[in-house]
Subunit: 423 residues, 4 copies
């Protein structure tokens, strides 16, 4: 096991040094593909496992091409690069034991964040020489997730005799922004799945602890909103303009003013606003990045629908045009209690201090789309948390995990594969 | 002339003691009617000289009936009361010399304001015992205007041999709020008029001074705006409400934010806002009193059209209904230079220091509707200012005029009647 | 018991016909006083049981005097009127059994709401001829509460031999707006109380049902906010004004935009907004009625503190002055489980279907001040709900209770007095 | 003259191809310096003629260094580059005739705009191969101004015998944003000037026409406003954030809502707003580019002071910090009538159709600082307009001048040098 532990750390640090944003995980995905193929998994890559029309918030062709060049220069595996070159970076790796049994799937996410990693003297990735080499950062632990996925694959490959049925490892792009899962669901990758397990490291659960079913995810919608007016000289002809910034400013304030809802928790945020192109010009463009959340999908719908009224009304007030593009969505979901209890037992068997269920409100997650699909077809699904000690919170520039947490996570997941393959 | 001067003061003080709001000038109008009939004028009263469908912002039937009772108890002349009992209080009094000549019209307004008159020790109306007996006040000098109108009628009646053609005295209701003139224009009262003169006292012009043509009036629109939402318990079910107050608040701010216009002066004001019925209830009603102004009618249209966008957008943002009622309108107008020069000469002849023209921006005036109508049919029109020394500004609770200014005003107007009747 | 039931209905309908707003319950209080004194209770009235400096949102002296006249003309009992004439209308009625034992207190509220009662044909108070005789209405059941209080007093008086210790009946003014309780707490009326029970009828609990401990009350602050600017002529000199309405409108929108709080439920509402005095005048005054709520007192403090920032900032933006007056406050509170269980047993014994506890979020209640005080001194407190079938929701113009619910309520409370007097 | 005309076009096209933003005119200034020195002018460059502490809105050291590299690679004259390498790019070139006489100064501005030049097929600079080689553009004609300045220098050099006294050519950086003039005024460059003439091409005056005194410039203030709050996870802990975007949005709307001013024309614009760094993060930063204008300096002060109240109040509402940096200022100014008449005569003599004065509101100009300084010391100053036919309006990506207008402009200015050197 010492060997596997070293391997896990090595993988994680490699991914950490080369973070890639959602729908751009080209280097990561090709390394994953090569590793899994060598272990004997059967691969499906890119458009085979992703519905192109359901990819939300995908980077432009220019950005994708530029990143492809970067990936080529930074260690992507040439053999698989063609298949992910357009940004469809999802992979499904299947292990068929040949024996009758259920199909068990594990979801792993691979993308990083547009955060500039700390270069503070006490930041371990700096000290240990695996700090990000570019301007992105694995500040949410998806590097650890990918590493754990490869570790799980290793144990499966080496201990196939303990298993029955089929194991599917789903490497998903673009979890950040809740953008990637739906395209894999629509491509049918969980249509044959009986048990589905998604995993996240951290989330305030300490090292050596485990939560078998985390149920606090909020439904969410991510919207890119644009206002288009008419520019004019602000000093000379102000009346000839149509002020997109005024519409946007009204939208921001009134989105925040959407009434609280007595049925449960709601959220709304405008995280970015960019408007105008010159001090003395009436702003003809404004762009907002908006997200709504709700404790249930119904509550999120309430927020989203109200938001659309606010945006259209703000445009109408100042006679500008608007467009709303949905660039990410997550639904709320509850883990299947039967599956949670079995996973809980596996964690305890692997030496972790486990609790069956947690209902702490967390952020949003598009793994809920997989869960919902599996449960609707009669299967079982859960979202588990692998505890670790964090150097700083998620999405912080000093985020770092305790690498000692990786191995017990791999072991727990492998034990669940054994346990679940029984029936 | 001493007798006429005393008479002018007596009339003015009597009207000052019994102020009446627009479309409620029942006591005033019946006294005017009685006085003019006695002098030999031919009268048209109420619906004969007012188009009912063009009366904007008329009080409710209940208010009208209540005021009728008040008027009966406070000295209205019974004989004419029936004709003005529904609030159509306009009068046109015609003096036909029987000799061929032009038709010359003078406009007099009669209404007061909802201002509670000062009871300060230095306020002349209090000292001289003619302070308002009710909660309204003649704080814009229309009491003086009505008095001057009766004084002019007296001189006409006594000096008919100096005149030719016909003289029409138009006593208009509801100048405040720019509401009354249009209904008289639409009833055709100036269709036969060759020369039209409207008069205002004060307006920063000092005693013994005169302006023959004041051209600074702004075009204006007065709007009553209402928002209608849905109430609900603010603590229990906030999401079931539709918040009319939020819509109204957004309208107020964004009306103020209508862009400045490079073509000339514009104004906008929300003077009153009332919303909601209980602290813990989502407000389902909000009402605004709005006015726009513009240096030209085109500029006022710009403001008014933008205002409608703001109001509809604000309603849309918070999913409430809205209604806009136009309750007053004034257009911009320029005096006829030929007429101004002739009137200027009359003023100088009457001992006043006169200037032909002033372009100082003043408030708005619906006399502009009469002016526009007369000019469009080829006639001449002007709006003159009779200077006086004011105790405090217009619409102030301590407003008061110098009564010495009344007689020269009457003389100037009478001289103009003589001058204009020549051709 | 038939006699008592008739009496309960008679009392309730009498109070219903003569509703009185908070701190004006003069007729109600004097009738309560007379009834209780006849039953043998010892009375403390008005300033004896209320701290004048802690009365929030008390009507003006003029309103109080005017209502005193109304009360005299509408059946107030002369003997006690002097003591409540200034609007201190609280009463504490004590029954001392002379036997050692605990002190048990019951809170009853007496005030009505500024709602105009329905005159719809199907409204029972109209049909049965006990509709409100004025423009206020008992639309929250406090008429029933007062009646139940008198019924409880009757049973205590008639069955004193079953009791030990002392019973205190607390008739509180001004529960609406959460204004009256604190003044009685500060006057020390529960300083000697071991068990405290407050009761409310309705609240979505059906007839024949009972909740022994309702824990869903929100902490709340009620604020009257005023903005004071400078008026000026909106057309002539807009730059000389300081626009209080603009400040108020910004406050309204940004109060609604106070961020949601992850620690629990929050609320904010501006229920009323009145600004300005004339269409063409820059508004120099604006007044808001604001309330904040929070699932805990900490959460309400978060809302209240943020609200103060918003209000001061809105004033600063448009250079106007502001003032915030706290006119009502409620804290959050949890019932004592031991007391709840004992009360639950009494309800079941009285034939009601009872549940020990409910955590449904309700509105706010200032009975929580009594509860907090009693619990802090080591006593027990609870807030129970007496179910009934409502014709329409609380604060609705068609609100009405099922009078069959009154007697079992009285019986349950009396049984609790017997039960609690044991120790 | 044909030679000079060709030279003017050649210069203008060269500057057009290499546009440089304000305080970065390194290539332009060094070419100007070389040309003027060769003609025999005495030069003062950079810090000699600019007060460093009065340079508003100067680019950062990084930007300045980066541009220096660009300038070196794109034809800057090495000899003078050191002197302008820190972005102090102003030049004063003096021609001393040695004969007694007045000092006459001409102001020329050199900077370009951050506009991406049109590549439309009908755009002359594209067709004639002098379109901008970078992402900036001479979209306001300062390329033509610089060319005219060099043309004027040529005529002075060649016809010195017609002149007396001294001629100063002031090549000013950073006119856009009204940033550069004040630093040259404070360095004393017009302290000895008797006659000052600034020139602008275009401004709606057609080819072959001339305005000797343009008096419509507005006083202006340019402000960079920043808000600084606290970021937090918008889903997880919204209450821990301090939302800078909300403050900024309120500022934008309420800046637009500053009341109109009856004393004259006012303007306000927020031209750019950038806030936030991620969709699910409470925005901790917001930056605004604001400008106010007024028909007089007093009116601009009214706008600027009100703007500061709005900005501080918006920050206070949402408990964020703010900073306001003044990055540009212009005052209002009136040309000296005596000078205007003399310049008018020179224009007519040069074959142009001239008018003495125009009061059309134009944008703002910091040449007004030179004018004010010269007039205050008893000298004469004017701002003239050289008409041309424009392909599109100023600051438009398709802006272009008629090059036939250059020569008559040079001739008029030279004639004025002759005329003014007489006394």
């Amino acid at each position: 096991m010492k060997t596997l532990e070293n391997k896990l750390i090595e993988w994680r640090r490699d991914f950490h040094r080369y973070p890639e944003l959602g729908f751009l995980e080209m280097r990561t995905a090709t390394i994953v593909a090569e590793t899994l193929e060598k272990l004997g998994f059967e691969l499906q890559i890119g458009r085979e496992v992703m519905s192109a029309e359901h990819c939300m918030g995908k980077p432009s062709d220019e950005e994708t091409q530029a990143h492809l060049n970067w990936a080529e220069e930074n260690g992507a595996v040439e053999k698989y690069l063609e298949q992910v070159s357009e940004g469809y970076t999802g992979i499904v790796a299947t292990w068929d034991t040949g024996k009758p049994g259920p199909t068990v799937a594990y979801r792993v996410d691979m993308d990083a964040l547009p955060i500039y990693e700390s270069s503070s003297g006490d930041h371990v990735p700096l000290n240990q020489d695996f700090r990000s080499t570019n301007t992105e950062m694995h500040a949410c632990g998806h590097d650890a997730h990918t590493s754990i996925g490869l570790g799980l694959a290793t144990l499966i490959s080496e201990n196939s005799d303990r298993l029955k049925g089929r194991i599917k490892l789903i490497f998903q792009p673009a979890e950040e922004g809740a953008r990637g899962a739906i395209s894999m669901v629509r491509a049918g990758v969980v249509d044959d799945v009986d048990h589905f397990i998604a995993t996240h490291i951290g989330l305030s659960v300490p090292h050596n602890h485990f939560v078998a079913s985390n149920n606090g995810f909020l439904a969410t919608s991510k919207m890119d909103v644009s206002f288009k007016g008419v520019s004019s000289h602000a000093g000379g002809k102000p009346e000839e303009g149509r002020n997109a910034m005024l519409a946007a400013a009204n939208a921001v304030i009134n989105l925040s003013a959407i009434p609280r809802n007595s049925q449960g928790m709601t959220r709304v945020n405008v995280g970015e606003l960019h408007a105008g192109s010159g001090r003395n010009v009436i702003a003809d463009r404004a762009a907002l990045k908006v997200e709504t959340r709700g404790e249930t999908s119904e509550l999120n719908d309430y927020m989203k629908n109200y938001a659309e009224s606010v945006i259209s009304g703000a445009a109408q007030m100042h006679q500008v045009e608007y467009a709303i593009e949905i660039v990410g969505e997550g639904i709320s979901a509850k883990g299947s209690p039967e599956l949670a209890v079995r996973l809980h037992d596996c964690a305890e068997k692997s030496g972790l201090i486990s609790q069956v269920e947690s209902n702490e409100a967390a952020g949003s997650e598009d793994a809920t789309f997989f869960m919902d699909a599996v449960q609707k077809q009669g299967g079982f699904a859960t979202y588990c948390i692998l505890g670790t000690d964090l150097a700083a919170g998620h999405h912080n520039e000093k985020f770092d995990v305790n690498e000692d947490s990786l191995l017990p996570g791999v072991q727990t997941l492998f034990e669940s594969a054994v346990e679940l393959s029984r029936r």
